[in-house]
Symmetry: C2
């Protein structure tokens, strides 16, 4: 019974293909997965519905958490800031300060409460070129902080950290991730815009991996 409890995991699930792959990987590793999905006022709300579909497809438990970001300043939550139609350099306008820190903090609270032994996050190499809260040194510092600020015992796992998009797609394919259910586009329209950073890297990743993107085909 004890080992069963230790094999519970909290998985941060956004609805994109990275976190979907992480969920399927955690399940493959034998974890009983509890997904956390955040409704934080993102303009591409569509990803929430995608996340729910993915959790269901993976037969994982999930909770949708509604949180407030009453300050603006990121294209993810602020209509006045346009999502650019060409690839950004440096920190993208979609950067929302503290987003992953907040998500991981809720995951800590949940994991400690249900005595889950692991927290999974889909941060990876391509992200941390622009987002500080995806960098390996951040995740290390967060783990250390979690050890002193909680009474829980858990590992924070980012199994995609050193992978690029095509490697993630190949892993996802192997794990039978339903790519058709995932959503990456920062613009929450009926179809992916195919112009934003997120669409660009997704298309490039599928092309490099030689895999068909079942979302758009």
């Amino acid at each position: 019974m004890k080992s069963k409890i230790a094999r519970q995991a909290v998985v941060l699930l956004s609805g994109g293909l990275d976190s979907a792959t992480v969920l399927y990987l955690a399940k493959r590793r034998g974890y009983l997965c509890h997904c956390l999905i955040f409704d934080y006022g993102q303009l591409h709300k569509k990803e929430i519905a995608s996340a729910i579909k993915i959790a269901k497809a993976c037969a994982a438990a999930y909770k949708v958490l509604k949180i407030d970001f009453p300050w603006k300043g990121s294209a993810l939550i602020d209509k006045k800031i346009k999502v650019p139609s060409k690839i950004s350099r440096g920190v993208p306008v979609t950067y929302l300060p503290g987003r992953n820190i907040i998500f991981l903090s809720f995951a800590l609270s949940f994991a400690e409460t249900i005595k889950a032994g692991a927290i999974f996050i889909g941060a990876h190499a391509q992200d941390y070129s622009g987002y500080p809260d995806c960098r390996p040194e951040f995740l290390k510092a967060f783990s250390k902080m979690a050890k002193s600020g909680t009474l829980g015992k858990f590992n924070i796992l980012a199994p995609l950290l050193h992978k690029n998009k095509s490697q993630i797609i190949l892993l996802g394919k192997k794990l039978k991730v339903p790519f058709n259910l995932t959503w990456s586009c920062y613009r929450g329209q009926i179809l992916p815009c195919r112009k934003c950073d997120s669409c660009y890297y997704r298309a490039k990743g599928f092309k490099e991996a030689g895999v068909i993107d079942t979302l758009i085909k």
Copy 2:
């Protein structure tokens, strides 16, 4: 202009006398204060109204953030867990895993967005006997994590960290904190219950400081 921006602070304001004292202290130190007040489903909702009154009395800006804790397990948010009427040893049943971590994470996001140079929290000596997310080593680890996970430059300040309740009350008196507006009781009734941990330490603190508690007198 630059120095004026750097003198902005985000203050975590709960409605209790510790964070009220910290707010008045930050203002005295010349910071333009932006208070964050959390509506997280606490059963003693009354503290939210108190926090708003305190922010107004201090002429500070404030935001009330509504966040979800759909998991239970703490007497602060779970009606099924009774707030004990005698002093607890060890970790109190009012401990809510990750609460300060989440609050501070939102403060990071806000501070980075408005370019505030400081974040104030009212954690102190008495708290960290029971709550892991009030300990000095936690705050140190959190600051380090914040440096690697954000692009902001701010100090996380806990000026009450090594003070006990009576010392905080004496400081609050000096700063003219309106104690009558503060709320400490974990039970959100019309009057403080005078039995819970929080009421006990408040009464003891006022007695030791030789100060009259204007909330109940």
